[in-house]
């Protein structure tokens, strides 16, 4: 019982007392090295980190504006919810995008979302360092020229 209390208290304490904002600022510092900037207003509560009105800059270009980002770091199950992403190209708008990471699939991050141009489904393979995002029911012809296609449909693949 004693041991269980220690483990449980330790786990809850790690989540509650996590310096979420400072961890995000550290992420900003790392992204800066890649010339990626996130201009945003960060705030946190006991469980979540919230980023409001985020502007994403890549190589000094404002590529996207995100109304709200909610990061829930529960250590064994982590989730990032992005809402209302406006991409500065051809009026592309992603209504919501969810990234989930579970300890049950330690090398996989699931991606799900919906937009005004397609239904988004994909994954990030952390072991092989690649990602594949399917844009199902794709309506926007412009994007098609930037994508590859297989049996499932159009997809975007990237190694990192």
């Amino acid at each position: 019982m004693k041991f269980l209390t220690i483990i449980l208290s330790f786990f809850i304490g790690l989540i509650i007392f996590m310096p979420k904002e400072n961890l995000f600022f550290t992420l900003q510092k790392e992204l800066k090295k890649e010339n990626i900037f996130i201009n945003t207003k960060a705030s946190s509560n006991l469980i979540d980190l919230k980023l409001d009105n985020s502007k994403i800059f890549v190589n000094k270009i404002n590529i996207a504006n995100i109304e709200s980002i909610k990061i829930t770091p529960l250590l064994f199950f982590n989730k990032i919810d992005l809402k209302n992403i406006k991409i500065d190209f051809n009026h592309l708008n992603v209504d919501n995008l969810n990234l989930t990471y579970s300890i049950l699939t330690p090398f996989n991050v699931d991606i799900k979302g919906s937009s005004n141009f397609a239904t988004i489904k994909g994954f990030i393979d952390l072991k092989n360092r690649n990602m594949k995002i399917y844009l199902l029911n794709l309506t926007n012809k412009t994007i098609k020229s930037f994508l590859k296609k297989d049996k499932k449909g159009y997809f975007y693949a990237q190694k990192f």
């Binding site: 790690l14 996590m18 600022f25 000094k60 051809n90």
Partner: protein, 255 residues
């Protein structure tokens, strides 16, 4: 001691340990302040001043209140390039280049030279009761000979409507149906231009390299994207291209 109180004490101790642990990590490794990118909208208006539009819009051109003494000899001011003129009575201003671009309002001083008059083609300064003039033509003389030797004369401006530009911006697929551009080691190369398309009419040809747009060099995708984003703000577009190893300039006015 009661068992549950014991467990409570254990929890508190564990929490304290976690707080201490996070505190150490925070103190040693984490960034304390946010990092953001200080961006600003580039104001490239000085490329876009159309003098004819400005003059036409003023039904009654104001007379310049500055009185120039008739017998004063006007000398040429050396070492300064005149880049643009905005003639609007007392609100006139000019843009000169002296290592960097400098805005000067009427009656403002620069290195002791007071801007006293702005005309259609020149600006007149005064210093120690002497008058000095800079003209647009001086700018052309100052162009380095290395590039001017390869340059062909600037072509007669072609006009593009703002509506056409808006149509292409709102529907980028329309652009890529009519023109294909690749980025290779030499720069941005046009590899396809659809016959009869707007790009064909504007004089762009397969094999051309786009070097500059409105005096902004195209080196990275970032440069190209910034031009694409700002293109509807321009009143004039100047494209410098390299064709058959010769530099050529294409000028378009947007109406």
């Amino acid at each position: 001691m009661h068992k549950s109180f014991k467990l409570f004490l254990i929890s508190i101790t564990t929490f304290s340990f976690v707080i201490f642990l996070w505190g150490i990590i925070n103190f040693l490794f984490l960034q304390k302040l946010p990092i953001s990118y200080n961006y600003f909208e580039k104001n490239e208006n000085f490329y876009n001043i159309r003098l004819d539009k400005i003059f036409i819009s003023h039904s009654k051109p104001k007379q310049n209140k500055q009185i120039i003494k008739p017998k004063i000899k006007i000398e040429t001011l050396q070492g300064v390039k005149l880049k643009a003129i905005f003639e609007n009575g007392d609100n006139s201003f000019i843009i000169i280049e002296d290592k960097k671009d400098i805005f000067l309002n009427l009656n403002q001083k620069y290195k002791g030279y007071k801007l006293i008059k702005v005309t259609k083609n020149s600006a007149i300064f005064e210093k120690n009761n002497k008058q000095y003039e800079i003209k647009f033509s001086q700018t052309k003389l100052n162009i380095p000979t290395s590039t001017s030797s390869t340059k062909k004369p600037i072509e007669v401006p072609t006009e593009i409507s703002k509506t056409t530009i808006k149509q292409y911006i709102s529907n980028p697929s329309k652009i890529w149906k009519n023109i294909s551009i690749i980025h290779n080691t030499k720069g941005y190369k046009i590899i396809y231009v659809k016959k009869g398309s707007i790009f064909d009419k504007l004089g762009l040809k397969k094999g051309d390299y786009i070097i500059e747009v409105n005096n902004k060099k195209l080196n990275t995708d970032s440069d190209a994207w910034q031009i694409y984003k700002n293109i509807n703000k321009f009143d004039e577009i100047n494209i410098k291209i390299k064709r058959n190893n010769q530099i050529k300039e294409l000028n378009y006015e947007i109406y």
